[in-house]
Point group: C2
Chain length 388, copies 2
């Protein structure tokens, strides 16, 4: 799929437009019924669209039949319903492509229209675009969904020069994404991009891992870690879940990865942490004898400072996970590490949107704490060199 | 209005509940038609509600007839329509109160239901609550709007102990707020709070000042500045506006303030900056001979790095505003200062939600740059002491 180039000849565009006019009358009835799959009315002239699935899809936890799912849920029928639903959502996925186009357009469909009250629509069901500049990935645009519509077409970025550039287009964090077409200017070239990130580091976690409440998809913390470290952090975040169920643990153990980050404490009760941590860690270790397993404590919920019950629960969760990790280490599980949550959100109590979910500032503080810890562990295990 | 305490006797509650039952049948028809103004169906038993307008309202730019407007727009009929609309939105307002209640509830109405695609609903049309802890204001809860409804009732914070505490409840940033009732537990006391912030520093600006795209109302940058410095920064942000129109300049000059921060470059074209900066600054100076006037350059729009036209426009805006300030200084306008935008958003290009509006991380970086600059100017003019 990589390095395939497609030149768009002018006459092909003209034929398409003529054909479209001719066919349109016949399609109007079906179109009104929602049959037609594109945001046709919003399309611009002189723009050629290509299915994003023909380009390079990054961030896949495993290969899937449905292009923008993270896991092939048909293969794992015993999962809890909410986990199955989350695995069909496109958090952490990105399209890697190159183009000479001076503008980038997008048409897409999702299955949901309503965002959470503590997330932006752009993060929940929109896109953001990065361009490689002097070796680093830099923000290049955002795709805003259409109000109350699961379909949209928009311009993501424009006004660029016509040299070939590399792009990453991050997919919606909290909805299933069923269709993506990337548009470029007529006459420009587009081709599949490469995989810019090394190794595979799976991050299993809650809504926080999935991306709540980053302001746009590329600011979810695994995505930020990938761009800042050059390593391939894979988003296995599942909002309102990540409770280490046996079926989920067995599935995670089957995932090909060089290291496992377990950020699954926030939604696991103290009891569940005692009951299930051992099974999850051992299941991974059985299939991955040498892979480092990095367990993160839960972010301290800001609401726990005023709500004593919440505060005590989080303290217990973090105490129990530490005890479970120590127990496993004592029982001979090697390459098992704990990152304490102290300092995750800073100390001014402004790092969340709702007392639980980090905002971009909270994520930034968390990233500053966990990045050196994770890199040190990966170096220790010789997964990355000491030069990184 | 201050320090008025109301004890809620049990028998009064019982009478109210009995009365409510009796009257309810007669009200059902009207209620179904939306006549009743409360989120009655969501109300909890044992909660007593009080109109927030009877408590202390902070953040008012001037006194108004309508409680949660920032300016009495009936007095300024010549303003552009969008400015008038923005001045009725509740950005920067907060309710100051004290209570012994272990939980805080809220019922409210707004005029709009749809958020921007790059803001959360909580920021756009919800609330957040701060409690004073060891002298500092600390996050205590958030009020999420009801999907597709301009009315909502919810619990903002719970699980607290019953000592009297001071609270600030920040109002929605991007909608008119027509009704607020604050609920406390039956038997608890509530009273108007004080004004915790000193002096009056008016911030005239664009959507960025109004609060786009902070993740919740209390994270708009003037609100953060007030809590971190103890000074009273007043939000005169106007999304899609702040173009220094003569009528707006005349209105601003009438506002009682000890200092003026002008963050009105982002939506003013280079031409408008040349035409209008002089009038605005002189109008303020004529009414406030000694008040420092602090002009901020525009944040560098991240989209300007890829879109050359945007990049050039922002560069020109910032060049022109600097020239205008220097011209005014040369012509004898004293106490006029410029804060350059360099470093406002940091240098990793991750500080905005959409290339224009800072996310919480971008705001945090901007605050770190402007706080010492503003404090130094206020000290220089002896508005605050050198000890702050």
């Amino acid at each position: 799929m990589k390095n395939r180039k497609r030149k768009v000849p002018n006459n092909r565009l003209r034929r398409r437009l003529a054909g479209a006019r001719y066919v349109l009358y016949g399609l109007v009835a079906m179109w009104l019924q929602g049959f037609y799959t594109g945001g046709f009315a919003q399309e611009k002239k002189g723009v050629m669209y290509y299915p994003a699935e023909d380009l390079t899809i990054l961030g896949k936890v495993m290969p899937t039949t449905v292009p923008y799912h993270r896991v092939d849920t048909a293969l794992y029928t015993g999962l809890p319903d909410n986990v199955t639903k989350r695995l069909t959502q496109s958090a952490g996925l990105a399209i890697s492509f190159k183009t000479t186009s001076q503008a980038i357009y997008i048409k897409w469909h999702t299955t949901e229209t309503m965002p959470s009250a503590v997330m932006t629509e752009v993060a929940y069901r929109g896109f953001d675009l990065y361009v490689r500049e002097h070796g680093a990935w830099q923000y290049a645009g955002v795709a805003r969904p259409r109000t109350n519509s699961a379909r949209a077409a928009t311009t993501v970025s424009q006004g660029m020069d016509s040299t070939e550039k590399e792009f990453l287009l991050y997919l919606p964090l909290y909805t299933e994404t069923t269709h993506i077409s990337i548009g470029i200017d007529e006459g420009a070239a587009i081709s599949a991009g490469g995989q810019p990130f090394d190794h595979r580091i799976l991050v299993y976690g809650s809504s926080i891992t999935q991306g709540a409440a980053a302001s746009r998809p590329g600011l979810a913390y695994p995505a930020r870690l990938s761009r800042s470290t050059g390593l391939n952090f894979l988003n296995l975040g599942m909002g309102a879940s990540a409770q280490m169920e046996k079926e989920v643990a067995d599935m995670i153990a089957e995932i090909s990865a060089d290291a496992f980050v377990l950020d699954c404490v926030p939604n696991s009760s103290p009891t569940l942490i005692r009951e299930r941590t051992g099974y999850l860690v051992k299941a991974i270790r059985a299939r991955h004898p040498d892979a480092p397993i990095i367990v993160m404590q839960s972010v301290i919920r800001e609401s726990g400072y005023v709500n004593r019950a919440t505060g005590e629960k989080v303290a217990l969760q973090n105490q129990y996970i530490e005890e479970e990790v120590m127990k496993l280490q004592k029982n001979g599980v090697k390459n098992l590490h704990l990152i304490p949550a102290v300092d995750f959100l800073g100390h001014d109590h402004e790092g969340t949107v709702d007392g639980t979910h980090p905002n971009d500032m909270g994520f930034d503080r968390m990233i500053q704490v966990i990045t050196p810890r994770i890199l040190a562990i990966l170096k220790q295990h010789k997964i990355i060199s000491n030069k990184v």
